[in-house]
Symmetry: none
Subunit: 274 residues, 2 copies
DNA sequence: TCAATACTGAAACATACGTTTCACATTGGG
DNA sequence: CCCAATGTGAAACGTATGTTTCAGTATTGA
């Protein structure tokens, strides 16, 4: 009990806290442990609670006074910086207990696997194309990946002109595809239970001489045959269904790199937006 | 001068210090920065000097008061622990390396940090609520996070009935909010450049006695005050803008756990869907 | 719906903290 | 060796801080 970190104490006690006390707890966790080293008034203000509530919160963690609590934080911080090894040593990782941690570890692993398997040249090629602001850019996704396309659209719009997202329904898409000009860029998403409509879309894009970038899963959509660049993502996890976090990460990486490459245009648009 | 760390200031000023002041400086460097966060009396005692000397030492470093000095230490510490990537932030990024790999590593780190900072009880509480299929579930996001809400909606729809997403425009939202009944669940997204409309939405949800789960960034939206459960995600990366991958990962974790908890209902719906 | 209970934060309070003062100690120059 | 100049810390001081109280508010259960 005495050998617990403040953070651990919070995790253990948080259920028994009242609503305002919980705000204090969250505030502290959000920028741990710095907020706890500030005076009570500032702690309270930043956490959105009253000083009295913060004090009650501290008391519930088992500290006799606020100075006591601060001393614990300092000691802890000292122990951490003096021996970074100690931290991982006294943590025998309760695998069974924490769903979130275990799940998050898998997603993080998927991201790493994805990044290492995608050839740098392919990734760069896609980004350079996206950064070429003279060419229009079309996005489309399937049932679940449509949200990824939407996210990417929102960000690309901030960075460059000529971004549009195709409608989810094929009927409407056909009309929109008429706007695609030779040399345009297309970012398409397709994952398992590969969508026949996406296959058609890719073919049509290709017929119109668009530069097709296909973002797909590790088993690779049949539409890949007709794409110029294929970016496969690791989606399998310890479940019966797949996780798209690595795909989302790839989208963010694409946005980041594109923004860099198109900085002259992007910086103007971003500042104009604010 | 203003952008110097305290440690750097000490190294620069140490030669001009008097003997007792230098003891104070050595003491602070010996266990930096913890000693500076202690009260002056303790600092003085551990450094082998008098409180007055410590104060003079602080003044020589250019601080107007001891609290001022402590605030500087806290800010500095925060910058360091908030992003272990600070090094790459200050130094010219080594472009030579693989962009994608480096970027992906940051996102993976953000996911881990997010998972470890979220109390298990908070996460579980949100999932249990979502798995209660008798209560309707409402989702809403902001400009960029709307895509996350959409993704979550698409998956939750597969798992349970009574899922609806609020319109992006506040005007339309007001009508939709009339459908919210006491005991309903609300999943709301709000991140920096916190949306005033989202604050209103949260308040309205609360007024209607909904159970509000707020997904936000590490700096925590002001809307958190009115939420039952707050799930903060680490979004800061080595750029001027933020990355939402950890937030997406959290969404997938929520979906996964909810599906587990609501399996009787979920399994039926999923198989019916195929 | 209403009463009982628990929670919350503004304000009053007491304490401990940072700060200043000043007498004494130390150092360096004549 | 003595004197001036500077450095030093014990004690006094005022203020900012932590703490407690209590009236108002929200929540819970009957």
């Amino acid at each position: 009990m005495a050998e617990m970190t403040v953070e651990e104490r919070i995790h253990e006690a948080i259920e028994q806290l009242t609503s305002a006390e919980r705000r204090a707890a969250r505030g502290l966790l959000a920028n741990y442990p710095m907020l706890g080293l500030a005076p009570v008034a500032e702690f309270a203000k930043q956490a959105g609670a009253s000083p009295a509530t913060v004090l009650r919160f501290i008391a519930r963690l088992g500290f006799r006074s606020y100075p006591d609590f601060q001393r614990a934080l300092r000691d802890e911080l000292q122990a951490r910086t003096q021996s970074p090894l100690q931290r991982s040593r006294n943590r025998p990782r309760q695998e069974s207990g924490n769903f979130l941690t275990a799940f998050a570890a898998q997603l993080a692993a998927n991201i790493s696997a994805t990044a290492s398997r995608i050839p740098q040249a392919e990734f760069d090629s896609a980004c350079r194309r996206l950064a070429d602001t003279r060419r229009a850019c079309h996005l489309a996704g399937g049932r679940f990946t449509d949200a990824l396309a939407a996210y990417m659209e929102a960000h690309l719009r901030l960075v460059r002109p000529g971004v549009r997202r195709l409608d989810g329904r094929m009927a409407a898409r056909v009309d929109q595809l008429l706007d695609v000009k030779a040399g345009d860029t297309a970012i398409l998403f397709d994952m398992r239970r590969y969508d026949p409509e996406m296959l058609d879309t890719v073919k049509l894009m290709r017929d119109r001489r668009a530069f097709v970038v296909l973002i797909t899963d590790e088993w690779i959509s049949p539409a890949a045959r007709f794409a110029k660049v294929v970016l496969p993502c690791r989606v399998s996890i310890d479940r019966t269904w797949d996780a798209n976090t690595a795909m989302f990460a790839l989208v963010e990486a694409l946005i980041a790199r594109t923004t860099e490459l198109a900085w002259p245009t992007a910086s103007q648009r971003i500042s104009a937006n604010e």
